[in-house]
Amino acid sequence: MKNIEKILPTSSIRVLPEGIANRIAAGEVVERPASVAKELIENALDAEASHITLSVQKSGIDEILISDNGWGMDADDLPLAFRRHATSKISSAEDLLRITHLGFRGEALPSIASVARVEVISRREDRESGVRYSVSGGKPVGPEPVARERGTTVRVRTLFYNVPARRKFLRTPATEYAHIVKTFRQYALAYPEIQWTLIKDKNTVWNLQSTDLTGRISQLFGDGVLKDLHNVSSGSGVNLVEGIIGGTNLFKRSRGDQFLFINRRPIQNQSLHHAVVNGFGPLIHPGQVPFYVLFLRVDPEEFDVNVHPAKHEVRFRDEGGIYRMMLVATRDALGQSIRDGSAPINMNIKENEKQVHKTAGLQFPKPPKAHRVDGIRELELLFGRPAQDQTKIDTIYPDKPGKSHYMSQEKGDHSNVQMSPGSGFNRNNEAPLAGKHDPHDHLPLTSQKDVKHLEHQSLTSVDNKLELQRVNIWQLHQTYILSQVKSGLVIIDQHVAHERILFERALNAMQGRQWSGQQLLFPVEVKLDPAESAMMEEMTPYLARVGFDVEKFKDDYWLIRSFPSGIKLKNEEKLLREIIADYRMEHALKIAPEESVAASFACKAAIKAGDPLNTEEMNALIDELFQTQYPFVCPHGRPIVINLTLDEINKLFGRT
């Protein structure tokens, strides 16, 4: 502050002394303890550490200590590291366009040192001993020799000791600690192959051993989430998105568990978050937030992180394209991937990989198999799952914003969502060609030999499972369908299963081929109240598409002349009234009328709990269920199929 007083009265324009410049830069980079942690973590990552420890005292306000086992610095490097724009990571302006390191601005240490007391102890492996260097109140101390293993320890104490305004604006220790945890989790997720330790006031909070992404998620969020995780892998050209999204069971009401990375750098982007949410389509309701850990891999030339010193904002050259890719990836993961037990077929995937590897140079960790996926694939082999056509996918979830999610004609960029026509087994046979046998192995899968090998494996495993095709199937309390599968037991809720089938068929009927209507010998007369009647007029064209031939013949009297074929004849009048009532509710939510009609119809016309089903009916139901886009969640987001593995059952019985 003294300097400013000296400068201001005499001259209007001056080059700022380095200390002041650093403090201004610090204002941008160092907002709170968590931002210190972030900068230092990035330095440790850039030093290729394999174990990073973050230790905080009083939520980092008193002390933040980062220790790593990376390259380390020597006595010559250390003083330089505290100089502004001193960086080992880029050397020319051209490099700025191709940033692959996390830190590059050379601002971190000097900025932090300008607002806190910083001490660094470091040792390069090729030096005989470590060195200590510290800066306190702008004054350097050292470097002096000290004993240390390879790596670097940075201790940041009394943050903002010289900026009382900043210090005053820090939140409660609990809030600041929450920010630290958030930062720690972001990087721990982005780098699961690295061992991470978080220590709070001398107590170890986490000591996360090196693992893969799924392992890391379970370390951080508990094993419970594993059941509802779905692998994401999608992309075209040089852009790719991979990672994991949580299913409907992991929806939350508040933000916090959404992790998005670009080339492994944590970013925030409202638009891309929206893409993921939209990918859930009707499964997600307003106010619900999905869980996801997604990694975008984009050519560094395609985006700019140098928007803000803290680097969490990103600009894309083609934001629309990235948006679509994220949306499609989410849909795929929820729809096709789950059912296939693998990533969607992507004929271009190998080409993508090469380019991504070349440009990004990142090694993406191999997540292990999410265990529920196997059961589901098996389920499909058991019950069979014949062909689907591309049009169906497009009509159900086209991209066009603004209009309904379901109704748009626009195909969007779906080159990456190819589904093979043919029987269920053909699909599986084709799979390995696209690296589909094991979705998690597709990155390293490059040689033709590997492909052949996998193809062979896949074929034999399909053959083995085929023998299980004829299994028993039971109805439980006229509500659930039970069946044995190799991995254990599946339980299907008959009502929501049928609701899902009808919902998708109804949506298809809205767009494409109309649902045929069984004509009635005795047209049913229904007297509606004026409000219902008005609703009915609005619904008539959509009802017609699902096979209802309804006609107003006087005042509020209506005639039902036909009924959707294949629906067990129940009380048509009651059904129609229920659909109107349901439609009114849906309508209040401002959902497009065709969707509302489809949803109301599906919900009300579906078989109910308590309806007895024979084996043939149960089999038909399951066949149809696995024809749908989302066989595992009903239109309201409830689960349709539960897979209890033998392990889980064994656990219940205390068998281990």
């Binding site: 014949p386 062909a387 029987s423 068929r505 009927a509 081929r513 109309q514 649902w515 045929s516 209507g517 069984q518 004509q519 009635l520 010998l521 005795f522 096979g547 031939d549 002349r561 036909s562 074929s565 294949g566 004849l569 129940k570 009380n571 009651k574 038909a620 066949d623 149809e624 024809q627």
Partner: protein
């Protein structure tokens, strides 16, 4: 109560009433059969309150009495005692002791007082019909009865009793069957009855090969005294729909086709139809008919063509294959005739030749094709 009887006689009689015992009931007493002994005559009675049956058997009576015994347990044990002489004895604890050879079986009974009494039948009018004709008419109509309990009137067979003819009608809203039996005499006031399926099943089981059957019509119930069983049934209340108005009068495009070939074609096509809608498509021209089916959801399709004679303009019509096949089963002539009228209106199916003194027709509503 005590009597002896041969196993075969008892089992035969018992099996006649036991089908009336409801498999599930909120009233536990209804799962019993009432036994009533007077001298050498043993009466067996079962009821579900809608349908009641009574039958009798000669036994060697020792002591009169009555008791209700669980139908399933008694039936099961009797069935296992093949060829033996059975001793029935009711002890003071209301246990029915059944002795057969060295075996002794105790079945707990329930006081006869707790068993619902047979409906008081105040007979009003009667009609009679030849057993053979009745059987045939019930068989050909009962399949089209509705299972929709929300429309009880459609869940039974409609009997329309007129001086010169008796009509049997059933419908489930998609199909309708009507048989007019013209070999019929009745001199009372015209009557309309809706007879529940369960009663008709029971009648069918017990109809003799030959002879006439007398229906007694009471207030809201009927009674039939057959050779070895008396059947009482409540009638279904409610108004039967005005079915005559939906039978088209101007279906003048006639298709004549071999019953057997037509049936087989539909059976084959059905394999390729959607398993839920069973939709098949008939493509009819003046000298042939093509039947096809396609399952959009699950994939696969099939089609087949045979010669047929048709006097109308070419047309395409869709049906639920299951419905059509059920109609085919009722036709015993080599050829059949389908009469088409306006689109969306019912098609009329008839045998190529009617039986003597009979008019038999079936209606089937098409599926509106997309």
């Amino acid at each position: 109560m005590q009597f002896t009887v041969s196993q075969s006689d008892f089992l035969e009689t018992f099996s006649r009433v036991s089908p009336a015992v409801p498999s599930k009931s909120t009233l536990p007493i209804l799962s019993n059969v009432l036994l009533k002994l007077e001298g050498d005559l043993l009466q067996l009675i079962a009821t579900d309150l809608e349908l009641s049956v009574l039958t009798e058997i000669k036994v060697s009576g020792i002591k009169d009495g009555s008791i209700a015994v669980p139908a399933k347990k008694v039936g099961d044990i009797i069935r296992e005692l093949e060829g033996m002489e059975l001793d029935f004895f009711l002890d003071e604890n209301m246990h029915m002791q059944i002795k057969a050879g060295e075996g002794e079986y105790h079945v707990p009974g329930i006081s006869a007082q707790d068993f619902p009494s047979l409906p008081e039948f105040t007979g009003a009018s009667n009609f009679s019909i030849e057993a053979k004709r009745l059987k045939s008419s019930i068989t050909r109509t009962i399949f089209a009865v509705s299972k929709d309990e929300l429309r009880p009137a459609l869940t039974g067979v409609f009997f329309e009793i007129m001086p010169q003819e008796l009509k049997f009608v059933t419908t489930d809203g998609h199909r309708l069957v009507r048989i007019i039996d013209q070999k019929f005499e009745y001199d009372g006031e015209p009557q309309e009855l809706i007879v529940p399926v369960k009663a008709l099943d029971m009648i069918q089981r017990n109809l003799p090969e030959e002879g006439d059957i007398v229906f007694s019509i009471g207030s809201n119930q009927i009674m039939l005294k057959l050779d070895n069983i008396t059947i009482y049934s409540r009638l279904i209340e409610g108004k039967y729909p005005h079915y005559e108005s939906v039978i088209p009068k101007d279906n003048d495009s006639h298709l004549i086709v071999s019953t057997e070939l037509f049936t087989k074609m539909i059976r084959r096509a059905q394999i390729f139809a959607n398993p839920i809608s069973h939709q098949i498509v008939l493509n009819i021209s003046s000298n042939s008919i093509e039947i096809s089916a396609e399952d959009i959801e699950l994939g696969g399709r099939g089609s087949e063509k045979i010669s047929a004679s048709f006097n109308g303009d070419d047309r395409v019509v869709g049906y639920n294959a299951t419905y059509v096949l059920e109609l085919m089963k009722q036709i015993d002539t080599d050829e059949l005739r389908i009469e088409f009228g306006a689109e969306k209106k019912a098609g009329i199916v008839r045998p190529i030749e009617q039986k003597e003194n009979e008019d038999f027709m079936m209606l089937i509503m098409p599926v509106r094709l997309n």
